[in-house]
Amino acid sequence: MVASLHIVNPNLASAFSLPPRSNTLSVSIHASALLQILESSYFDQNKNGRIIGTLLGSRSEETTEVQVKDSFIVSHTEDGDEFTIDSSQREFVAIHKKSSPRDSVVGWFSINSKVDSFIGLVHDFFSKGPDSTHPYPAIYLSIQLCDESGSFVEPVFKAYVASPVGCYGALASHLDLEKAGSFVFSEVPTKVIYSANEKSLLAHFKNNVVEPKVPIPQNDTNQLISQLNKLDVSIDQLIDYVDKVISGSLDRNDVKNDEIGRFLLTNLVSLPTSPSKEELSSSISSHIQDSLMIDYLASAVKTQLDVSSKLMNLVQDDK
């Protein structure tokens, strides 16, 4: 390879001479992985120095999306220009691969890190060698929890990919110019994703932000009630909107009003033709009858079970 100044846009060609990519890389972080990083930072915040860790996840072959599914903190030591990554890194990667064999290392993260040559060195570590992202480019996720004065702010997270810059190759090493760890970082779009299962949980957390301990709802009926209350609020909003439209007092500059309007448009058009009132009434009644039947039969089975276990003990005890 010819030694030359080498600056490549990482979005167009990957850092390791792979065929050029036409699509932009994007990063999706699972909410659980992100929360885990935040929690571990909270846990470690008394220690000095920076926190770095490994990101695990998967890449889709068709799209250029990288999913970050899991993370763990890696202990390291810094000594001037030298740094050492603890060997536990490899063990943890092996453990994660056991529980989810399809996942691999996709990159690394740092918390409250300032930009210096260290970042290049670590990025080099995660891009090459065993348990690295090779042959794919590594993702670097930077998370800022504090502003420059050291007080906490709303977390800011950004993902980057990097291309090496500077001389490398045989000639460079011959001329003693080779320098590992020089990169150009460019930001890639990032989003947080979660499954429907996680969503209800996240919403529950969000509703209880003020509590130091979030209770887990014990009762499904209570959850139904809270959902119904939410529905009530939405209906009120809708009625309010419709009233305003009728009276012509709608604020056309409010983006929220536009959203409601669009929502109504898409949902009302696609509604199937409604059944007649009688049909609806009879199908709802029969649904109630069915539910009552289930309720009754299940209670009957329970009672029978209770009686049987009491009788068993009595009969057996007599002997």
């Binding site: 935040l38 529980s99 299962n197 919403a203 932000v209 499904d220 649904h287 009552l292 079970l305 003990n313």
Partner: protein, 338 residues
């Protein structure tokens, strides 16, 4: 006892359930005992066997498979090496209805309990965190934490273990095999702040699936299928026990015949010789008939308890979802037609 999950742990359990649905998933939990009575769970891993779906007919079977025990041990070692210092605190199970109540789960929990009981310092009880994936898919938050009930531990330490007499003494029934304990999720101020940025405010139609009429039908159908199967097992088990009871009563009949025959002989001897000493009479006490007859041993009632517990939980689940359906339907009916 009370347990607290880190927010990320709760999310990971939910995700694991979603990824492996409709198959069960399980894994070890690691955490820090705050006091002997409360544990903070900070790490969760998914068992390697969650990925082979074909041999997961029995829930929680995987707790004791060698692959998983090795995995659990190795993870713990690595956590300690990384100076995280978390301890093994229990398991999570993503399951449906009462399916998690199995003999295998209970026996594993007992086995670990006994191992830990041997160590000198008091360790917190191991917890079983159960997440119902089918409920989560309806938009409900469903996490429950269980520990072994004192009644079950007491019975397991008795001689002859799970026989009716012991069940009576310890007051162990199918409804108190496990004890539910309070479970909360730790709320970090930081995470709270982060959540605001993470979750969009929009009222999405997806999370309100619980409001849709008849949305639990699929889950209920599965439960009913499970219920029928479990009732069959239960009857089979009951049949075995009846067989034992018939055997027992036949033996008892033979013994009483034997005893009355001996008493008749004694009466005859006394008639002939009213001054006969006790040693001349035939003995009829239990010590004596034990030499001649052998009563069948009572089979363990544990399986019966487990099956009863499952049936009870299935029914409870059905009643619960039927109640929700009734509430919703009647609400709609009143509003639309009255």
């Amino acid at each position: 006892m009370s347990y607290e999950l880190n927010a990320s742990v709760a999310l990971k359990i939910a995700r694991s359930g979603a990824e492996h649905w409709p198959h069960p998933a399980s894994g070890p939990l690691f955490g820090f005992p705050e006091t002997p009575d409360s544990v903070k769970i900070s790490h969760v891993f998914s068992f390697p066997t969650n990925n082979n779906h074909h041999n997961q007919n029995e829930e929680g079977f995987s707790f004791r498979s060698n692959v998983n025990l090795d995995f659990q041990e190795r993870t713990l070692q690595e956590l300690n090496k990384a100076k995280i210092g978390a301890q093994f605190s229990g398991w999570y199970l993503c399951s449906q209805g009462g399916r998690f109540i199995t003999q295998s789960v209970l026996e594993t929990m007992l086995q670990f309990h006994n191992q830990r009981a041997k160590s000198l310092d008091r360790q917190p009880e191991l917890v079983l965190v159960v997440h119902e994936t089918s409920k989560a898919r309806q938009g409900l938050v469903s996490f429950k934490a269980y520990i072994l009930s004192p009644q079950l531990i007491q019975t397991s330490q008795m001689r002859e273990k799970f026989i009716t007499k012991n069940l009576r003494t310890a007051e162990l029934t199918f409804s108190n095999l496990l004890k539910e304990v309070p479970l909360t999720v730790r709320n970090l101020s930081l995470v709270g702040g982060a959540l605001d940025g993470l979750i969009p405010d929009d009222v999405s139609t997806e999370s309100e699936r619980i409001l849709a009429l008849g949305n639990s039908t699929q889950g209920d159908l599965n439960t009913i299928e499970q219920l029928l199967e479990t009732v069959d097992h239960f009857n089979h088990n009951q049949g075995n026990f009846h067989y034992y009871q018939r055997l027992l009563s036949r033996e008892q009949q033979r013994i009483s015949q034997w005893v009355s025959k001996r008493e008749q002989e004694n009466a005859a001897t006394l008639k002939r010789n009213p001054n006969a000493t006790e040693s001349e009479l035939l003995r009829t006490d239990s010590y004596e008939w034990c030499k001649h007859f052998k009563l069948p041993t009572e089979p363990s009632r544990l399986e019966n308890l487990v099956l009863s517990g499952q049936i009870d939980a299935f029914c409870e689940g059905l009643i619960n979802s039927a109640d929700i359906e009734i509430a919703k339907s009647i609400g709609v009916q009143n509003r639309l037609f009255n």
